[in-house]
């Protein structure tokens, strides 16, 4: 504890970061049904973690199986980098009508939103990296949350006889198809976040049937 405080002083972190870090202090592993999850997705200018930037973050949070629409998060970020070729994917234009905020402001809101929740994303490594890069640019640490990748989790839920024919990477579209999830608003950050949340809940119920619903199993790679 003492060490932590020292560290804070040394590095002079802003208050919102400290609040974020503090939210983990009281953390004791809750049961799965009592855990707050946040499913999120980012739309970016591309796949280069150094050069590319986040244009939009969408997130939904839930505990249990209910997702409250008014507690969802949808952020549009002001960025200097713009790549016309990605517009056709996410539909976000340079001077679009969405109300945009600065990257730092977005970080503040996002961290305050996620707190210590377990984060869920499809191909989570990418979103995690992009967010971490953004945090680094503003002199902050990396995300401390536990992560669950729906792509990895889906593989775990597949029946043993298909283990050898599993794809390395399932796209979110693949999962929608396999799990019968309506594809609404694909390729917007919050649309994808909601789809990811539903995909996650569906996989969870599959795993539950096979009694593989344990933290170790969910979080392990």
């Amino acid at each position: 504890m003492v060490f932590k405080r020292l560290k804070r002083k040394i590095t002079n972190y802003p208050d919102f970061w400290l609040a974020y870090i503090d939210s983990f202090d009281a953390k004791k592993k809750a049961s799965i049904e009592n855990t707050r999850f946040v499913a999120f997705d980012t739309e970016t200018t591309g796949f280069d973690r150094k050069k590319d930037r986040i244009l939009s973050i969408g997130a939904v949070s839930f505990t249990g199986k209910s997702i409250e629409v008014n507690k969802s998060l949808e952020l549009y970020l002001e960025q200097n980098i713009f790549k016309p070729e990605t517009v056709q994917i996410h539909g976000l234009m340079k001077n679009g009508y969405e109300e945009k905020i600065s990257e730092l402001e977005a970080i503040k809101v996002f961290l305050n939103y996620i707190k210590d929740a377990v984060l869920i994303a499809h191909h989570a490594n990418f979103d995690k990296t992009m967010v971490n890069q953004m945090l680094l640019r503003h002199g902050l640490g990396e995300l401390k949350n536990d992560f669950i990748d729906t792509g990895v989790l889906f593989n775990k839920s597949k029946h043993i006889i298909y283990k050898e024919s599993l794809k390395e990477k399932y796209s979110l579209d693949d999962l929608c198809k396999e799990l019968n999830v309506p594809k609404v608003d694909r390729h917007t950050a919050s649309g994808d976040a909601l789809i990811t949340a539903i995909v996650f809940l569906k996989i969870l119920s599959r795993l539950d049937k096979r009694k593989h619903l344990e933290w170790g199993y969910l979080l392990s790679k």
Binding site: S66, E68, V69, S72, Y76, N180, D185, L201, S205
Partner: protein, 638 residues
């Protein structure tokens, strides 16, 4: 702040009443307050007696059933589908819920805030009118109870009626007859005088040769097709359908539906070549029963939509429950339920075929696998099915397969709606791996048999129990023939199957205590499927295959067949057959009790007597496993 999710919720709501009656901006405000709820099959959204909450609901995906419990009998009052509104009692009446809302299948539900909705709908009489109608349809009070009882009469089986299904039919012992030489006019006068609807034409030896009913006279005489002075042989329906004296009501009605007739002639030995002893009319059947499985079968045949099939199939569960309660022989129960399941699948395929743009390009068969293939499926289980189609030229293959996959997708989707969950392992005809030409299937089975490995054995244990539900019989026979021919060339495959069949040891532990599942939430639960049923099913399959017996798929029937083939092991095989039936019954009862597959049994819920009964079933499991070890020389193969 922009909220795209709320916009999408809004886009969905606005197509359905009553939301289509609201102004767009108001609806968007409501949409922002919606809660999206994911429900697994069987999850309860609210229970009868729960105090009302701040929401009412709309189904986004899936289906929610509203139930009422009456003297421990679950009655389905209504079923809500995509776009249906339910749970509006708090909105209308501010009262506690009177029904229980359960996810009938995996569902996504929108919870709509009542307050926000009331604000937006203020003074909109159309909106309230719609809701009150919706409320009245789903309500359950003393007035609607009476109404619902009529609508859902088949959900409320009367015990005495169901028992009647298995009673010997009460047929007319002295049927009215006439000779072949009789003139129609005389026969009609006789019918009229005796106030009866049919007369049987018999020959000199009193064997039935034909039947004349009211409709024959209407259709053939009154239309002027034949003069009134014609011989009865000219207008009688012939030959007649006959049956034996000891037929049950259920059998009788099945025959009538099968042949589309209203009268069955009962003869001395059951064939047309013996003396007529009575007549069973449709009326006789209806008098004996109100509702029964054959009514269900008839409804299935007439269903034109999946939704209807689902409603009808649900009655099967109610039927099953009452059968189990009445201790009707399990063999009968299994037959009836299997028939219902097969008929539902058959009808689902027929409906799917209508949805296809063209008729099938070549012959095909739809196969049921696993428990449905063995015809021993009592509760809803996962779907396991496959499709085989005729060989086509190489360049046509892809196109042909694509056609059948599309067909299969329609079928599996509607089976899922009906209540058969998608196979977790995707062993369904909609998967290209399980939708192949006959040659490819032969290859596939050949590979499994000649190059067995763990996976092959796992798959064959499911695929070897196939049975045809729909389509060409020739294809299936051809496949079976090839399989049995291939089986003659191997003994290794039998060893693999054998190893699989004994891997789960008989559950009588060292201290004669139950071995219960060691891990996770199923601790203290006994897995009756893997520990009890599977070893018996696996052993029966192996033994019957090794004897090259074709066409006996049912586990208990397999044991009975084995008892016949090996008289010196008769006792063991018969006790296996008994144990299988007893365990199936256990599983079905538990499943109905908890509204699941019944796979896991909480030991503390069993009575002492039930525990003893269960234990008694394990002895033959142990013995049959020992037999397999010896017979297939498995000791060194483990």
């Amino acid at each position: 702040m922009k909220n795209s999710i709320a916009e999408r919720v809004h886009d969905f709501l606005k197509i359905y009443p009553p939301f289509n009656l609201l102004k767009s901006d108001k609806l968007l405000e409501i949409s922002e307050e919606v809660v999206i709820i994911y429900l697994e099959k069987g999850d309860i959204l609210f229970k009868a007696g729960d105090s009302f909450n701040e929401h009412f609901y709309m189904v986004r995906d899936g289906a929610i059933s509203l139930n009422h419990t009456n003297n421990d009998i679950q009655e389905i009052v209504s079923m809500s589908d995509t776009g249906d509104v339910f749970g509006v009692r708090p909105l209308i009446a501010q009262e506690n819920y009177k029904l229980t809302a359960t996810a009938h299948e995996e569902s996504i539900v929108y919870a709509i805030p009542i307050k926000g909705f009331q604000l937006a709908a203020e003074n909109n009489s159309k909106v309230y009118k719609y809701l009150i109608t919706a409320f009245a349809t789903n309500a359950y009070d003393s007035y609607t109870t009476r109404e619902n009882n009529e609508i859902f009469v088949d959900y409320l089986p009367n015990n005495s009626q169901d028992i009647a299904n298995f009673q010997t039919a009460n047929y007319t012992k002295k049927p009215v007859t006439c000779s072949e030489k009789t003139m129609l006019r005389d026969a009609a006068i006789k019918m009229s005088a005796l106030k009866i609807g049919c007369i049987i034409v018999i020959d000199k030896e009193k064997k039935p040769v034909g039947i004349i009913t009211n409709s024959d006279i209407k259709n053939k005489i009154a239309t002027g097709k034949y003069p009134i002075e014609t011989s009865v042989t000219n207008i009688m329906s012939s030959p007649v359908i006959t049956s034996r004296k000891d037929l049950t009501i259920a059998d009788g009605q099945l025959q009538m539906i099968k042949h589309n007739i209203g009268h069955l002639c009962i003869t001395k030995d059951g064939t047309v070549n013996s003396k007529l002893v009575g007549v069973l009319s449709h009326h006789d059947v209806l008098v004996t029963l109100g509702n029964n499985p054959t009514v269900i079968l008839k409804e299935i045949k007439r269903a034109t939509r999946t939704k209807k099939l689902r409603t009808v199939r649900l009655k099967g569960n109610t039927l099953l429950k009452s059968y189990l309660e009445q201790n009707i022989p399990l063999t009968h129960i299994i037959k009836v339920i299997s028939q219902i399941n097969d008929a539902v699948t058959f009808r689902a395929i027929e409906i799917a075929l209508l949805k296809m743009p063209t008729p099938p390009p070549v012959k095909f068969s739809w196969l049921a696998l696993g428990s449905q293939g063995r015809k021993e499926q009592l509760l809803f289980t996962d779907q396991d099915n496959a499709l085989v189609f005729e060989d086509v030229a190489k360049d046509k293959y892809e196109e042909t397969q694509a056609y059948f996959i599309e067909l299969a997708k329609y079928v599996t989707k509607s089976l899922n709606k009906i209540g058969f969950e998608y196979c977790e392992a995707d062993m369904m005809a909609s998967n290209p791996e399980w939708c192949k030409s006959i040659s490819e299937w032969k290859n596939q089975f050949g590979n499994w048999i000649l190059k067995p490995d763990e996976k092959a054995v796992l798959l064959s244990s499911i695929f070897f129990d196939y049975s045809r539900i729909y389509g060409d019989e020739g294809l299936v026979n051809e496949l079976s023939d090839t399989i049995f021919k291939t089986l003659k060339n191997t003994s290794l495959f039998f060893k693999f199957l054998g190893r699989d069949a004994i891997k789960s040891p008989s559950p009588l532990g060292f201290f004669k205590q139950f071995l219960v599942e060691q891990n996770g939430e199923q601790k203290d639960l006994f897995n009756i499927k893997s520990r009890g049923l599977m070893p018996l099913i696996d052993a029966a399959r192996l033994l019957i295959l090794s004897k090259h017996v074709k066409g006996v798929n049912n586990t208990s029937e397999r044991y009975e067949k084995l008892a016949e083939l090996e008289p010196n092991n008769k006792e063991l095989f018969e006790s296996c057959s008994y144990a299988f039936k007893a365990l199936s019954k256990f599983k079905a009862k538990q499943g109905l009790l908890h509204n699941n597959s019944g796979k896991f049994i909480a030991l503390e819920t069993l009575t002492k007597e039930e525990k003893l009964k269960l234990k008694r079933c394990f002895k033959p499991i142990n013995e049959i496993q020992e037999t397999l070890k010896f017979r297939f020389d498995l000791k060194n193969f483990m």
